[in-house]
């Protein structure tokens, strides 16, 4: 009874924020299903169920109010981000292992909601791609890929695609193919050549992927409009990626893809609006967010262009997660009355 002001509050909650993030993923998800089949939905259900179950177990073990935290939506966001960054035809147990790793180790062992120093989904992605590089690198091709039944059997049947002769129907991500194409020493080729000849490329980026990215862009802009995220990180990320990719392309158009290709490929859009903007493990001051977003873009490009992994968003995010406290500490905005442009005290 003896509580203090303010006596009323804006109708908002952690759950509301998390649900809006999930809703914002829907346009991209629709495009995903359209181009790559419904297997992703099966993975989503699987990951969601596992995430909620593991979350419940951890909450009980940690003696936290179960329903309050179970319904906050944070476990679902982690699960969905894992699924959307993983290949949709990855075996079911990889998805489960990733979700368990994210929720148990990255989230709860560090203190649960609000305490994790790393983005759980990205940490899980990093762990899985290190542990199962091959399983994590097989992606369905848009349009003429495996049918739904085939995808399901890949997820649950433990079928080895190589023995089934499905090799032609699945392939690495467009980013990966580009790198492999460029780096294979046998034939001297160029970016333009690969993009024109390889079936995985569409108009601007990867075939199908460009539309998924567009879906994420729409959802992300909606999140900014809803003030769930601020514009700083996505803009810093996308602008920096554009500038770096542009600079490399101008310097050597044969060896480096265009900025548009980088923006619409891999995890760029998902990373810019949904992963880098995770506030718990990220920078939070306005200037800090710009540095943080630019830093992720920088490392993403470096890893894509010169690293060994197909995409760099996950590792770049984890790298910048480490820097976030330092970035925040050194970018504290001036407080009221201490800004540069305020009139000086009259002596």
């Amino acid at each position: 009874m003896l509580n203090n002001s303010p006596f009323f509050r804006h109708a908002t909650s952690v759950r509301c924020i998390m649900l809006k993030v999930l809703a914002a993923l829907l346009p991209g998800l629709v495009a995903y299903v359209w181009f790559f089949g419904a297997a992703i939905l099966v993975q989503l259900v699987l990951a969601s169920v596992v995430a909620l179950a593991v979350e419940a177990v951890m909450l009980v073990m940690r003696k936290k109010p179960l329903m309050l935290f179970l319904t906050d939506g944070s476990a679902l966001v982690t699960a969905w981000l894992i699924v959307l960054t993983f290949p949709p035809i990855v075996p079911w147990w990889v998805t489960c292992a990733a979700v368990v790793f994210a929720i148990v180790i990255v989230k709860h062992l560090y203190g649960g909601l609000g305490q994790n120093p790393f983005n759980p989904a990205m940490a899980a992605f990093a762990a899985m791609i290190v542990a199962y590089p091959q399983l994590m690198s097989q992606w369905p091709a848009a349009g003429h890929g495996v049918d739904f039944a085939g995808q399901i059997s890949m997820i649950f049947g433990g079928l080895d695609i190589r023995h089934l002769g499905l090799d032609a129907l699945t392939m690495a991500t467009p980013l990966d193919s580009l790198r492999t194409g460029l780096h294979s020493a046998e034939i001297k080729t160029s970016v333009a050549n690969i993009l024109a000849t390889h079936p995985t490329y569409g108009m601007f980026g990867g075939k199908g992927w460009e539309w998924v990215a567009a879906g994420y862009l729409v959802g992300g802009i909606w999140l900014i409009q809803q003030r769930i995220i601020s514009w700083h990180i996505p803009v810093a990320f996308l602008v920096t990626l554009t500038l770096i990719a542009g600079a490399f392309q101008i310097a050597s158009p044969d060896n480096y893809a265009s900025p548009l290709f980088h923006l619409l490929c891999g995890g760029s859009m998902l990373g810019a609006f949904f992963i880098a903007t995770d506030p718990i493990a990220g920078a939070t001051t306005p200037r800090g967010k710009l540095i943080y977003g630019a830093g992720i873009a920088f490392f993403t490009y470096i890893i894509r262009a010169f690293g060994a992994y197909p995409d760099g968003v996950a590792f770049a995010t984890l790298l910048l997660n480490i820097c976030a406290p330092l970035i925040d500490m050194t970018t504290q905005p001036p407080v009221f009355g201490h800004k540069k442009n305020t009139p000086k005290e009259k002596s």
Partner: protein
């Protein structure tokens, strides 16, 4: 001419709930059966009671007076029943010294002498306002006489008059401007002369078009009557809580940000509430000290309204006038954003009471369970002081008060915007209040320890001095006795040169030297 406005960072737009009370004219609250008037009604040392139980007092007679504190007056004529500790309007149910007056029903005024401010020094004007008990009526009750400071240049650029009234439910300033605009403008004119301000900017939130129109009409009328209203401007400011915070309003109207701990007069600007201007007119022109104010009674009541209420009246009398609904379960003094929960309904109305808000479980539901901070930054987005509330929360929670101060804890004005928007429902302001009181307590302890240390050192010094004197006296005595003995001996025997009869061997001297060196090393240095 269009006034250029400036934005302040952050702010929120809570539902305003102002409709009910403004439609009713200001009503005079009837006399209560008893007036419990707390002596401390503004910051600083409380005034001392200067009346005794049994004494007759008149309306407006000084009953409490202190060195630099605004005086406290009898709200009506009657008998002093007691001078005792009573519960005051404080969340904790704190008791403080109050003068209890039983009205005689005659309501007879004490001598009322207007003040000729035009022919008085600024010191005289200050003393007058202090005697009249004038404090800021916006809610902070800062003594007004202490604000009659014109800075080093001897004049101000801007006098800001605060009619923003940004807290939900509260309409006392709104109705004041509508009904008593003319008197208020006269008060502002007096204030302007006292602080020698070039411009007067009356800031009113644009959700109060009637008050804006009424204030403008009052200025026009007075200017037609030949009063000096030059440079007075009514400015509609965007409705955004807390636009009525003094610093925020000064920022919006003049672009000046007065940092924490600095006087606004150092920046050529001073801010007064509209109610204070009216009180100053009543005091200066009519000789009536501050014994009442307009108070909004709203919330879970049938007939919300504004009442002219005298200080010391029990809050329940005012609540009764508005007809509380049966499910009412609490009384809040002030608005829902910054108000304080009252320990009971018998606590008296004081100068800081701008609103009595009646709550119910439906109107102010208990806060949802607190969740962990997810660093979403909504609080930083809403903070009008450009702070990073989530960082301060983090440090306050960890009792890392030094770090909390580094993140400008004391620049927080406790407006509650951060807690209002927090999706994790964290009572952020409570954490800041906690951290501030802990720091104050720590500083107080430190100061006490410092005093104790100084006291101890003085005593030690004194003791050492006394010991030294004693030794010296003793030495003098012995020396005298020795001399006497010597004199006596000399008288008896012829003087002989003293003989050193024992010289220690070389190794022994060396050992003694070592020992002394050792001692010099281990002995702590003498304390200063």
């Amino acid at each position: 001419m269009l006034q250029q406005l400036f934005r302040f960072h952050g702010g929120v737009k809570p539902p305003y709930h102002k409709e009910g009370a403004v439609t009713q004219p200001i009503a005079e609250a009837p006399l209560s059966a008893e007036y419990v008037i707390p002596l401390q009604q503004s910051i600083g040392r409380p005034p001392e009671p200067i009346v005794k139980p049994g004494e007759k007092v008149l309306r407006g007679q000084i009953i409490g007076s202190g060195l630099n504190a605004p005086a406290i007056h009898a709200s009506t004529s009657g008998t002093v029943k007691a001078v005792e500790m009573r519960r005051i309007p404080h969340t904790s149910g704190l008791a403080a010294l109050c003068v209890v007056i039983e009205p005689d029903g005659e309501d007879k005024w004490f001598e009322r002498i207007p003040f000729d401010y035009r022919n008085a020094s600024i010191d005289k004007a200050r003393a007058f306002l202090r005697e009249a008990g004038i404090v800021g009526l916006g809610g902070a009750v800062f003594p007004s006489h202490q604000k009659l400071n014109t800075g080093k240049s001897g004049k101000l650029d801007h006098l800001v008059i605060n009619g923003a009234e940004c807290e939900p439910f509260i309409t006392c300033d709104d109705v004041l401007m509508r009904e008593r605009g003319e008197t208020m403008i006269r008060g502002i004119a007096i204030l302007r002369e006292l602080v020698r301000a070039e411009n007067v900017l009356i800031g009113i939130e644009d959700n109060k078009p009637e008050a804006i129109a009424a204030t403008q009409a009052a200025i026009d009328k007075l200017s037609a009557l030949g009063e000096n209203t030059a440079g007075m401007r009514v400015v509609a400011v965007p409705t955004r809580y807390p636009a009525g915070g003094a610093k925020q309003l000064i920022r919006v109207l003049t672009g000046i940000e007065v940092p924490h701990g600095k006087r606004s007069t150092s920046y050529g600007v001073q801010c007064f509430n509209v109610g204070t201007a009216l009180a100053i007119y009543d005091a200066v022109a009519l000789g009536q000290p501050l014994i009442s104010r307009i108070i909004t009674v709203a919330g879970n009541v049938e007939r919300p309204g504004n009442f002219e209420a005298r200080f010391g009246a029990p809050m329940r009398d005012l609540v009764a006038l508005a007809g509380p609904r049966p499910d009412s379960n609490r009384i809040v003094m002030g608005g829902p954003m910054m108000g304080v929960s009252m320990p009971g309904d018998e606590v008296p109305v004081v100068k800081a009471t701008n609103c009595i808000l009646v709550g119910s479980p439906k109107l102010f539901p208990p806060p949802p369970p607190e969740m962990p901070c997810i660093r979403c930054g909504a609080c930083a987005f809403a903070c009008p002081s450009d702070l990073q509330p989530y960082e301060m929360y983090w440090f306050a929670r960890a009792r890392n008060f030094g770090k909390a101060q580094e993140y400008h804890l004391f620049d927080c004005i406790e407006c509650g915007a951060c807690a209002y928007v927090c999706p994790s429902h964290i009572p952020l302001v409570d954490y800041y209040r906690f951290a501030k009181t802990e720091i104050w307590a720590h500083e107080r302890d430190n100061a006490a320890a410092e005093r104790a240390r100084a006291r101890y050192e003085l005593r030690t010094q004194r003791e050492e001095r006394e010991k030294a004197e004693k030794v010296a006296r003793l030495a003098a005595k012995t020396a005298a006795a020795h001399e006497q003995a010597l004199v006596a001996a000399a008288e008896q025997a012829p003087a002989e040169p003293p003989i050193i009869d024992h010289v220690p061997p070389e190794p022994e001297i060396e050992a003694m030297r070592l020992k002394i060196r050792e001692m010099a090393k281990t002995t702590p240095p003498e304390e200063e």
